[in-house]
Each structure stands twice: as C-alpha cells, then as structure tokens.
Symmetry: C2
Subunit: 218 residues, 2 copies
Amino acid sequence: MRVIYNEQMADLANLLGEMAGLAGHAMERATQSLLQADLALAEQVISEQDRISIMIAEAEEKAFALLALQAPVAGDLRQVVSAIQIVGDVNRMGALALHVAKAARRRHPAHVLPEAVNGYFAEMGRIAVSMGAGAKEVLETRDPARAAQLDQDDEAMDDLHQHLFTLLMDRDWKHGVAAAVDVTLLGRYYERFADHAVEIGRRVIFLVTGVLPTEEAL
Amino acid sequence: MRVIYNEQMADLANLLGEMAGLAGHAMERATQSLLQADLALAEQVISEQDRISIMIAEAEEKAFALLALQAPVAGDLRQVVSAIQIVGDVNRMGALALHVAKAARRRHPAHVLPEAVNGYFAEMGRIAVSMGAGAKEVLETRDPARAAQLDQDDEAMDDLHQHLFTLLMDRDWKHGVAAAVDVTLLGRYYERFADHAVEIGRRVIFLVTGVLPTEEAL
C-alpha cells in the first residue's frame, strides 16, 4: 500500500511540476509575443492551453484516485490535499500566461506596449519564467531553500510592478489612456503569476516542515 | 460512520456558505466605501479580513479531519475534494473585496472613481453581493437552478465590465490616466469576484449531477 502510495504521489508531484514548467514556458513565449507583436507565437500559446487543461483534469483525477484507493493518513494525506490546492495555483498560472498571449493577439499588428515599458515587461517576464521553473523544481525536489528563493523572486516582481505604477501615475505619461489600461492589466497578470508560484512554494514548505509560513515570515 | 460523515460534511458546507456570504457582505461594504469615500467603512472591511482568514484555516482543517477520520469514498469523497477547492475560491472572493476596500482607503479623502463611472460600480457591486449570496445558497442547498443563476449574474457582470472598457478606451475619457488605472484594476476585481462565485456554482453542479459543466455549456 505504502509503496504504491509513494509511487503514485511521486507521479502526481512530477505531473504538477511538469505543469508548472509548462506554465512558465507559456509565460516565456507569451512575453516574447507581447514584446515583438508576434502573432504566430501568441496563437501557439493560446492553442497549447488545451494541453494544460487536460493535464489539470488528469492531476485532479490522480489526486482523487490516490485518496480513494490508498486512503492515506497523516502526512501522506496532507500531501495529497496540498496537491489538490496546488493544481488550482498551476491552473491560474497557465490562465495568466494565456491572458498575456491574448492581449498580444488582440492588438496585433500593433504593439500592446509603449516602448518605454518594454524593459519592465522583459524583466517581469524573465522573473515569471524563473518562478515557473522554480515552482517545478520545488515540486519535484521539495527543497525549502528553493521555495524561499521563490519569495525573493516575488519581491523583485513586486518592485518592478510598483515602479510600473509610478510610471503610469506620472504626469509625464505620454502614451494615453488605452495603453495605460493595457499596461495596468498586463502588470497585474505578471504579479498574480508570481503570487501563485509563491503559494506553491509555501505549500511545499508546509509539507516539509509542518509549519505554514505566513506572508510576513517569508 | 456514515451519520458522522453526513453531519460533518453538512457542517463544512455551512461553513463554506457562511464564508461566501461574508465575502459578499465584505464586497457590499467595500463598494459603499468606494462610492462614498467612507474611510471608516473601508477600515472595517480591512480589519474583518482576519476573521475570514481564520475561517479559511478552520474549513481546511475540517476537510482534512473528514478525510482522515471518516475516509469517505466515491461521491462522499468527491464532496470533500470539492470543498477543498471551494475554500480557495471563497478565499479569493474575500481577498478581492479587501482590494476594493484598500483602494478606497488609499485615495481617501479623495474619491477613487470619477463620478461618470459610479453607476457602473454601484451595479457591479450589487451583482457581486447577489453572487456572494447566491454562492452561499448553492453551498447550503445544492440547488442546480440557483447555481445556473450565478452564470446569468456573471454575464451581466461581464457586460458591465466590457462597457466600462469601452468608456475607458474612448477618446472622450476626460479623467486622466491615474483614474483610468484605478478603474481598470477595480473593474478586474469585481469581474474576478464573479468568476469565483461561478466556479463555486460549477463545482456544486458537478457534485449533484456528476458532470462538470464547461464554460460554454453554462
């Protein structure tokens, strides 16, 4: 029973990790499509979303089967419950990458972003990709140090996001309201993507240490 | 065993319902604080967030205890898994109401919104409150007709949200970029609040019918 549980739980954790990696990869290409007004790339991200959706359903069924057939208890049970919650986070990460790709498609052949903020989004995209990879690694290795690193990445993301707002709110913003609206929403998507990666890290730390880090403590 | 399961599951469903109701109530007062630049009300919503956080942890522990001690199978198990997912949705609804209250506090004594969009937000607030109450009812009664009603409310919310964007993107927008940024984010909060209520309805329909409605089918 216990051997089967361990195998199936490792299988589920790897699937979650793979999905987090895919979400990060989707965000990478979505960012590129945004910065380069690359319609083909945006379409690719959008059409691959189905694949993530199928994996989401698969992960939920795996978690359910684990509970139903192995009836895990104590720490094992907590792992499966966390996995169910993590599916929700990974799902949102994929959806947020999709939103970015759809923004690029909606404004094509125009660029969504004024050139002045390209640097911000290139960097937010870089951090998001790193956080997707980090979430994958944490899910596969359960390394608390790597989970803590996610929080540092998130701080960098928040700083960029704050700077972006300062820029938007500045009287010297010359790019009009429509661009400001797009920048606001896109900034929010990257920030939320990072939040979900952090949440995955927090849940894994909880599994390893038994203590759920508060947002302040992280 | 089965009697205890039924009692504990009803108890958990009622707690989730209560939390959805509280999130709706928080959104109601947050909207009022937004429209009337009422700082005291905004502070009240913010300070009551702790109560929702405690209930979230309580609901997660109840679901865990149900799995650990009752080891439910089949449909019973699916109910508990759904409850775990629903906790996540209710949690976000509370957080989004909090974001609205914080926006009202941040700009106080100024109003966040230009008067021209007050009507939109009053209506989005009204729908959000109705959806919070609807989610509560669905959780307590598991009535699929009431769950379907959530989807109609969500359509009304999406329509308002679309109109709001048309207004923002219009060349005649006279209220500047800073107000546009606030309106964009606030509109997004209401829209996401509605999405989570719909998600709760979908999960309950799934429990009752065994079929997860697709977004198109709803």
